[in-house]
């Protein structure tokens, strides 16, 4: 895997004395995109937020079925700190924060020693507050600022008014770890980390090029008898198609989100509706509660789904599920609300039969 390269802070030594513009320009040219899920070009984001006052490393990975950030944090902390150094230098930021997920706090001492040894900057490690919404950019900024973790309305974007109302830049762990590699020879911006779990023999993190076919990817993890895949909780659900191209564009065209590259594999024995119910439960528990459409919508969706534990749906109930699936993204303001019913909208598109089987036919 490329990301496991030992770089020993060579890039940092090389570019320490370059100007901000030159660094940002180089990153723009490299074509590296953010790995947090939105796939936003890193160079463009930095250009918008330069000069930032705060830099935040988002290590609050909490998407179900995604664990590649944990892998990166565990195996290449040096690359992350090197990336942080580059970011601080390029953005002229005063203070950096690593917003570390509470479950990963065992990694904190390791980071502290590396920071002490290799970073001239002020980097603080903050242990996360534990809500799913803390992983969302604006929710995280609120949480860091001592406020309630609630998404903010955009605009203003964090690049204009973020933490403590100052210019702020937020980047994902994997993005930072890839930064130093840009200055190496034959750097490939299209390399992604996929977290594969579920009905596979070898679950784990795999590095592959964006645009890889699904069958190749699943062969790595030794999947058998696959029926469908879920792209994390919020990325949508797709029937197994060996030639499905795993790229951001193609997946969004099909109504899903590649997101942070989490893939949950299901075999023929699994029920799509039951998996959807667990995901509905997840969003009904984990939304911040700010917008009524998301808060109430997901709760009512859960109520509708709980019914099938002991009886079949009535026709009217399935209609309401379809209505809410369309409605919730319209009324919500942050990425969580907007993608909280993606799994259902895709499941209803590709596995309508499974839903109809659970419905009274009259």
């Amino acid at each position: 895997m490329k990301i496991l390269t030992k770089n020993n802070f060579q890039t940092w030594e090389k570019i320490k004395n370059l100007s901000s513009q030159k660094i940002i320009e180089k990153i723009k040219q490299s074509g590296l995109n953010g790995r947090g899920g939105a796939n936003f070009p890193v160079g463009k984001k930095w250009g918008l937020s330069y000069p930032a006052k705060y830099f935040i490393c988002n290590a609050d990975e909490s998407e179900p079925g995604t664990f590649k950030d944990h892998f990166v944090l565990q195996n290449c902390p040096e690359l992350i700190i090197e990336g942080l150094n580059i970011a601080m230098k390029a953005l002229r930021a005063e203070q950096a924060y690593i917003y570390l997920r509470e479950e990963y706090k065992i990694l904190k001492p390791q980071f502290k020693t590396i920071i002490k040894k290799h970073s001239p900057y002020n980097i603080k490690i903050i242990i996360g507050a534990g809500a799913y919404i803390c992983g969302e950019e604006t929710g995280q900024i609120n949480s860091l600022g001592g406020l309630r973790a609630e998404s903010r309305h955009k605009p203003p974007y964090p690049a204009q008014k973020g933490l403590f109302s100052e210019k702020t830049c937020v980047n994902n762990v994997e993005t930072l770890a890839r930064l130093p590699l840009i200055w190496q020879q034959n750097f490939d911006p299209k390399l992604l980390l996929f977290s594969i779990s579920g009905d596979v023999e070898k679950p784990g993190v795999y590095e592959a090029k964006e645009g890889i076919k699904l069958k190749k990817l699943l062969k790595l993890a030794k999947a058998k008898n696959t029926k469908a895949i879920f792209l994390g909780a919020s990325g949508g659900c797709f029937p197994y198609n060996p030639n499905l191209i795993m790229s951001y564009d193609n997946i969004s065209k099909k109504g899903g989100l590649l997101g942070a590259g989490g893939i949950i594999v299901l075999n023929q024995n699994k029920s799509i509706v039951n998996i959807c119910r667990s995901i509905v439960q997840f969003f009904a528990d984990e939304n911040c509660g700010k917008c009524t459409p998301c808060r109430e919508g997901n709760f009512r969706l859960l109520q509708l789904f709980q019914v099938i534990r002991y009886r079949k749906w009535k026709k009217e109930e399935l209609e309401w599920i379809e209505k809410l699936v369309k409605f919730i993204p319209q009324g919500s303001q942050c990425a969580l609300g907007q993608s909280s019913t993606l799994h259902l909208s895709t499941a209803l598109k590709y596995f309508k039969q499974d839903f109809l089987k659970k419905t009274v036919s009259k």
Partner: protein
């Protein structure tokens, strides 16, 4: 930047509007109605309820917090919007505890009525009635978040906040304490913006009714200056209508034995406070002096800045002074046993409910003021007795405690106490009346007003603030000793008492302005404009109190303060 015009289309109509405005503001200006629920004119829109969703270039967006951009094509009533609204109303509707309240709101916002709610309303917690100023009924809450915004942004008190998340989200307090154990100062601004009455004042109507029915009791009501400019709004009169005389006759119909004016109390306050200010300057005591007639503000200082208690004037608030004068001077003059006197205060305020029950407010030997009713409660009482308010005849206050000066009237607006204190202080110091008695530098709804005035050879630096977040700024300034103010007036509520927590809904800055105009008009009409010229006040001092700041005055009209910082 602001003068730049943006062109957009709303419902097929071409419109150009200045940049920086939200969709809702532009629509409102062009008479296009968009339904709202959590939106409030004076607060920053957060887009919580989603009711104001409109179609912008094919996508649904909330109108309250999205700014206009060039080339937007907005549809406020397309099929897509209607479908969106239909579902949203169902979801919002099951948040309302009472169906009639929900239907009333639907009608108000011109939304289509629905026969039945698809989902059952959730059962929530019961009522928090631990405090004697406000009560919270969680079952009525629709989570619009206005109260929290007021408490956090306007008042910087942070007594209430959102607790939990997702479906369990509720308006709560830190560590789930009862409201009385929090930093709540009782200003009631939360109750003023609550659209469903989940937060409201503690109700004392039944106690007052009981007292009115009791023939042995001599029930006296005093009404605050800001009541007469706001009470009419409860009876569908335009904002800023003066209803002093109708109010008096309504109160008489309710069966109160005597109807007096808190303005009389305000005149006493001015006599004491102006003298205290002069004494402080001459004897070089703790400076600057803060006014103390706002109980919300007093609570705030006692809670957050207890070490600065010395700066507070020791004067009681006007209605408390009035209460103790009634139970001593008035009782003796008319031969009534003070035990049988019930003093009810009609106030625009919820914090005064707490103030009346303070231990320090028993200087007449009894509880000086027995019950405090807010403007809303008084209107409720009048409506309950089916009195046709608009058709009432005009009547006058009872004497002797119904006489007041213009200086007492303007207490209701921010800057009023300052202005009226200057009028009297000028007379005390120089023996002459102030030439231009309308001191406009301290009027208006600016957040912090500063002025300097010369009285004789004294140069006084003055500041007037309203809203507790602004008060905090001034306090920090005083604490850092970077300023040399002499006298600072603070009102907890934006706009002063006319924007108080017990006033009719809706109360917005625009309405507060109208009420202030009415107050200043009343001042102009008054026979006497200065507190010291009120003949009844002169008589009170001659026959009963002796000198301002004298021994008797000190016992009856002054108070002490406590350290409440443990509540933080």
């Amino acid at each position: 930047m602001e003068s730049k015009k943006i062109k957009l289309i709303i419902n097929g109509k071409k419109i150009s509007a200045p940049a920086g405005q939200t969709i809702l503001e532009v629509a409102k200006k062009n008479n296009i109605k968009i339904p709202t629920l959590c939106y409030h004119e004076d607060l920053k829109p957060e887009g919580r309820c989603g009711v104001c969703g409109v179609e912008v270039n094919g996508q649904i967006m909330t109108a309250c917090n999205n700014k206009i951009k060039a080339g937007m094509i907005i549809k406020t009533n397309s099929k897509k919007v209607q479908e969106y609204r239909k579902i949203n109303i169902q979801l919002v509707g099951c948040n309302f505890a009472r169906e009639d309240a929900f239907k009333k709101w639907l009608k108000m916002e011109n939304l289509p009525d629905i026969d039945e709610l698809r989902f059952k309303p959730k059962t929530k917690e019961k009522i928090d009635c631990s405090a004697c100023d406000i009560t919270i009924d969680f079952s009525k809450c629709i989570l619009c978040g206005r109260c929290i915004q007021k408490c956090r942004d306007v008042q910087s008190v942070n007594a209430i906040c959102f607790a939990q998340r997702a479906n369990a989200l509720k308006v709560g307090t830190s560590f789930d304490k009862n409201i009385i154990q929090t930093t709540c100062v009782g200003c009631g601004q939360c109750a003023l913006v609550c659209p469903t009455g989940a937060i409201k004042e503690r109700d004392y109507i039944s106690e007052v009714e009981k007292a009115l029915a009791d023939k042995k009791k001599h029930v006296i009501i005093q009404t605050a200056p800001s009541l007469r400019v706001a009470l009419g709004e409860e009876f569908d009169m335009p904002a800023g209508t003066l209803v002093t005389k109708k109010m008096v006759s309504a109160l008489r119909k309710l069966g109160f034995d005597k109807i007096f004016d808190t303005d009389f109390g305000a005149d006493i306050t001015i006599m004491e406070e102006a003298n205290e200010l002069i004494e402080r300057i001459q004897k070089k005591k703790t400076m600057p002096m803060f006014t103390s007639c706002c109980p919300g503000w007093v609570n705030f200082l006692e809670t957050f800045y207890p070490k600065m208690r010395k700066h507070l004037s020791t004067c009681k608030s006007p209605h408390q002074m009035f209460g103790s004068i009634v139970k001593t001077y008035y009782a003796r003059k008319f031969g009534i046993n003070p035990k049988d006197i019930i003093v009810v205060s009609g106030m625009p305020c919820t914090a005064k409910k707490y103030e009346a029950r303070r231990k320090e407010m028993h200087s007449s030997g009894y509880q000086d003021v027995d019950y405090v009713l807010t403007t809303r409660e008084l209107a409720k009482l009048i409506k309950k007795r089916k009195i046709n308010f608009a058709k009432l005849e005009d009547q006058e206050f009872d004497m002797p405690l119904g006489e007041s000066s213009g200086g007492g009237v303007i207490f209701g607006a921010s800057g009023g106490v300052m202005e009226s204190a200057i009028r009297t202080a000028h007379y005390i110091l120089t023996g002459k009346e102030l030439k231009n008695i309308e001191y406009t530098a301290v009027r208006g709804i600016q957040k912090i007003k500063k002025a300097t005035i010369k009285i004789g050879n004294l140069k006084l630096n003055l500041a007037v603030v309203h809203g507790l977040a602004n008060a905090r700024k001034i306090l920090e300034e005083v604490k850092s000793k970077k300023c040399n103010y002499h006298f600072i007036e603070v009102m907890a509520c934006p706009g002063g008492c006319i924007g108080g927590g017990g006033q009719p809904q809706p109360t917005t800055m625009a309405i507060i302005k109208k009420r202030a105009d009415a107050i200043y008009q009343q001042d102009k009409k008054q026979k006497f404009r200065q507190a010291h010229n009120n003949p009844q006040i002169q008589q009170l001092y001659q026959k009963f109190l002796g000198q301002p700041l004298g021994k008797k005055a000190h016992k009856l009209l002054h108070t002490t303060y406590r350290d409440k910082s443990k509540r933080i």
